[in-house]
Subunit: 132 residues, 2 copies
């Protein structure tokens, strides 16, 4: 899988650097989503935060990284797997994935209003079992 991503980079005329391999490694081994700060720490400060931002931006543009927004002022990033959503615990901020999605009917109703190219973001907030 990581090989495919490296190929996508090459195809786009971008370089396959040690830095980008390290980043992809972390993303592939821990599904996340990760903040830039977490990635910085996971990589033990060996990459500049700026470099992390820039690499993630490239990965996102190539479509294999997705940015998630939980409204707390900090973006989170994960490898773009099958479409899914998240639940974040309001207490410990741990994030779990939710793979069901029943929003197709929703998008239909928006399409009827004349919109095209519809996408959505959906995040849940709750208190997890541990934190009750």
């Amino acid at each position: 899988m990581e090989q495919d991503f490296l190929q996508l980079l090459r195809d786009a005329g971008l370089h396959v650097t040690k830095t980008r391999r390290m980043l992809l490694d972390v993303l592939a081994h821990d599904h996340g989503p990760h903040t830039v700060e977490q990635l910085f720490i996971d990589l033990q400060g060996s990459l500049d935060r700026v470099t992390i931002y820039r690499s993630l931006a490239s990965f996102e543009k190539l479509g294999f990284v997705r940015r998630c927004d939980f409204g707390d002022g900090t973006a989170r990033f994960e490898l773009a797997m099958t479409h899914h959503h998240h639940v974040m615990c309001r207490v410990c901020h741990r994030v779990e994935s939710v793979h069901e999605c029943v929003l197709d009917g929703f998008e239909d109703s928006i399409r009827k209003k004349g919109y095209t190219d519809i996408t959505h973001t959906l995040e849940f907030f709750a208190i997890c079992a541990r934190c009750q």
Copy 2:
């Protein structure tokens, strides 16, 4: 309606000031959601941005203003009406409301994982008819 909000302020031991009335007026007359910058402009710079932030924070705590996040780095605020979602045009950034919500089943499946106090944010992004 605005009267109810003013009463909520009093009940919370907060003051009913000219400033807060002006803000509520704008919020009540234009459903929004509004950025702080838009509110600042609508009020012709007569309120400091800081004051707008602080008042909105109070209103949000009292529960009659809701913060929406479209992932563009700028919070938006609206009077908390019945539960609903939004579609934002990716081109003109105009926001329209979507009143259907079919997520109860979704929340059930999260409840089964042991979570409580579940809420969600759901925003749609699309290209509106005007912008095709």
